[in-house]
């Protein structure tokens, strides 16, 4: 029986770590987001192995259902025609890799192995279901609970304010197709004003579909 559990743990761990490696190394950012979802799913499986059933369900509901979908959505909203020659990593990524590898091999692993963890002797299956958690939230952890609520509210308001567009501006910016074509014809010969502006190129072999009309008018 122990061996079965060990194999399950190994498969889950490989799934989590492999998916995480793909997230940071894959070139296409949509694929990275999909690997992120795989990784979250593996973590939910690990929670089930650790008998944290409620947390596994919350992981699926919040991370896969909300955060990952939000990430995919943001990736699609901020489409950029990316240049295959442009690197996806910073120039100094090798030193970063070295530092994180050293952190893992020289700091974290020895610490974990040299510390004498106080393992709870009783191997009784623990169960912290929604009822116990609810009691804890309403009694011992009432203040943190309310602070978390306020934090969420602040984040919600902040996200809306940051992402909100000015209605008036937007109405001017949404152009008809004919106006857009005319504008593009005017703009094409002169280089973009800001150096960071990529060309609004429409020809690319990249699988990302070209921007929708609403985005196409934004350069105006």
């Amino acid at each position: 029986m122990d061996l079965v559990v060990q194999i399950m743990f190994g498969v889950t761990g490989l799934l989590i770590l492999g998916a995480a490696f793909m997230v940071v190394s894959v070139r296409n950012i949509i694929h990275a987001a999909l690997w992120l979802i795989t990784c979250f799913f593996g973590i939910a499986m690990l929670y089930l192995l650790l008998q944290a059933e409620f947390l596994a369900i919350v992981q699926i509901l919040l991370y896969i259902g909300a955060v990952a979908v939000l990430v995919l959505f943001a990736v699609m909203l901020t489409r950029q025609i990316d240049d295959p020659d442009e690197p996806v990593l910073f120039q100094r990524w090798r030193s970063t890799l070295l530092i994180t590898a050293i952190l893992f091999a020289a700091v974290l692993v020895p610490t974990i192995y040299n510390h004498n963890w106080l393992i709870f002797a009783d191997p009784q299956p623990a169960f912290a279901g929604p009822r116990e958690l609810g009691f804890a939230f309403m009694n011992a952890y009432l203040l943190p609970f309310q602070i978390a609520a306020v934090l969420l509210l602040a984040a919600l308001v902040g996200a809306i304010i940051i992402a909100m567009e000015d209605q008036e501006q937007r109405r001017v910016r949404v152009l008809t197709l004919a106006e857009e074509v005319a504008l593009r014809g005017e703009r094409e010969p002169s280089p973009p004003t800001r150096p960071a502006n990529p060309q609004p190129a429409s020809s690319s072999s990249n699988p990302t579909p070209p921007p929708a009309p609403e985005q196409a008018g934004e350069g105006a």
Binding site: M1, D2, V5, F9, G13, A20, V23, V24, I29, A32, A33, L36, I43, L50, A52, F54, L55, Y63, V67, L70, V71, F73, V75, L77, T78, Q80, V88, L89, F90, W93, T96, L97, T100, L103, F104, L108, I112, Y113, W117, I119, F120, D122, P123, A126, E132, L133, A148, L151, L152, A154, A155, A159, I160, I162, A163, E165, R194, A196, E218, G219
Partner: protein, 105 residues
């Protein structure tokens, strides 16, 4: 689980995930990719919290509660971070954090 898999294995898995996430957050140029790295790191922390709860204090709910708070903070962080990515894209037409350097002296 407790008898078959020692706590150290779970902790090493979590720290490996943390390091991968750290690498991603530090070295990817796309703003949303950096956020993904941060999400991985937060998840690694969560695995740690749940593992400690299960192995050392299964009769209390503290570890689970902390993990839930981490999830709340991660959700808030993702919302604000992605809103910022969209705002940056709208202003500069790029989400490469390298290119957003208007304030460079």
């Amino acid at each position: 689980m407790i008898s078959a898999v020692p706590l150290e294995w779970v902790l090493i898995l979590a720290s490996g995930l943390f390091c991968v996430g750290l690498f991603g957050a530090l070295s990817r140029r796309h703003a949303v990719s950096m956020l993904m790295g941060i999400e991985l790191m937060l998840n690694a922390v969560n695995i740690n919290l749940v593992a400690f709860w299960r192995y050392t204090q299964p009769d209390e709910v503290g570890g689970m509660i902390f993990a839930l708070f981490v999830i709340v903070v991660a959700a808030a962080e993702a919302a604000v971070g992605l809103a910022m990515a969209i705002a940056i894209y709208r202003t500069w037409q790029t989400v490469n954090v390298d290119s957003v350097d208007s304030l460079r002296g």
